[in-house]
Amino acid sequence: MHEWSLVQSLLSRVEEEARKHGAVAVRRLEVSIGELAGVEPALFDSAYELFRTDTLCSNARLEIRYVPARWVCGQCGARVAEGAALWCTGCDGPARLAAGDGIVLERIELEVP
């Protein structure tokens, strides 16, 4: 359900950019969602469909880019296999998440008269 509040953050952030550039409408939005972001892309998309009505985004296409989680050793950078323990046996140290935990507004295409 937190997808709803995230979409509201998205719309207000986009409107802020639109105002700044004097845009009358938004053509396209690009959002990336990480595997470990705790955000369900399908729910995010349906929340967007619901909330974009009567906003500057009413005709804006939302493109969601899914970012798989990537764990690497915090020291040597070696990739940790999916589902394995998050520990590098070579360095005897913990892994760190190198990608896949964000929910990020990447890019907007504005229509400026």
């Binding site: 550039h21 705790g38 323990a85 990447e106 295409e109 504005l110 229509e111 400026v112 008269p113």
Partner: protein, 248 residues
């Protein structure tokens, strides 16, 4: 729009933003964190499923902690029953009813901090809404995340909810007094699952009923509290020397 030359067509302006949709919450969380740490209060975001035993562990903590000044902010969709239970156990508590909202965010906690005397506490517990999904993504400004996982929830819970367990600094394996009745639940299997989702797995088996593990949990809290106090001391030394951060 002019069909001859296209004049009057809007110009398409691409804007690269690359900003987290949680940036607003994260900003408010930093503000909470500065206030809490600035007063030397250890703040713990306690998360877990509904019925994992979050409130019971805090009651046991109050019984065992002796002279500590504890406080709590509790959150549920409806009722202030947890806050009432904790007050009865001797922990001053403020209840937030979130209505239909499935998690706490930094703004809700900030608002609660204005309604609740927390400045002189040793430990402030923020007992989040019982939910293994949504609370994980919202930073509240806590110093530590603790997840209560009860033995009755099954061995593979961490694998099913990696987002939550990845963010845990500590997992309290609760209700371990029930283990003799649960032949299908092995503590080693839970530890193995945690190692696959938590880079630095840390787990304390506890029982609010028998008090098993409660002393270890208090030791963990005391060590964290010392860290907060030490960084506060460094901060005030910095302020005395007129280093950046002197103005609050």
């Amino acid at each position: 729009m002019c069909e001859v030359c296209g004049c009057g067509d809007p110009e398409i302006v691409p804007v690269d933003v690359h900003e987290s949709l949680l940036a607003g919450n994260d900003h408010r969380a930093r503000h909470n964190r500065e206030h809490l740490a600035g007063h030397g209060v250890l703040s713990v975001n306690l998360m877990g499923s509904p019925g994992a035993g979050k409130t019971a562990i805090l009651e046991a903590t109050a019984r065992a902690s002796g002279g500590w000044a504890l406080g709590a902010i509790t959150a549920d969709l409806a009722t202030e029953r947890d806050a009432e239970r904790l007050r009865a156990a001797g922990i001053p508590s403020h209840g937030i009813t979130t209505g239909s909202v499935c998690h706490l965010d930094a703004a809700l906690v900030h608002d609660a901090l204005h309604r609740f005397p927390w400045h002189r506490l040793d430990v402030l517990f923020i007992e989040n809404v019982g939910n293994l999904v949504c609370p994980a993504i919202y930073d509240l400004g806590q110093a530590a995340n603790v997840v209560a996982l009860s033995v009755t929830e099954g061995e593979d819970k961490p694998l099913k909810y990696p987002v939550m367990f990845r963010r845990a600094d500590l997992v309290l394996l609760t209700k371990v007094d029930l283990l003799p009745h649960l032949p299908g639940v092995r503590v080693e299997a839970i530890e193995d699952a945690l190692a696959r989702v938590m880079p630095v797995p840390a787990m304390i088996p506890v029982s609010a009923t028998t008090t098993e593990g409660v002393a270890l949990w208090l030791e963990w809290l005391a060590a964290r509290r010392d860290q907060v106090a030490a960084s506060r001391a460094r901060g005030s030394a910095g302020r005395a020397l007129g280093e950046p951060g002197a103005r609050e």
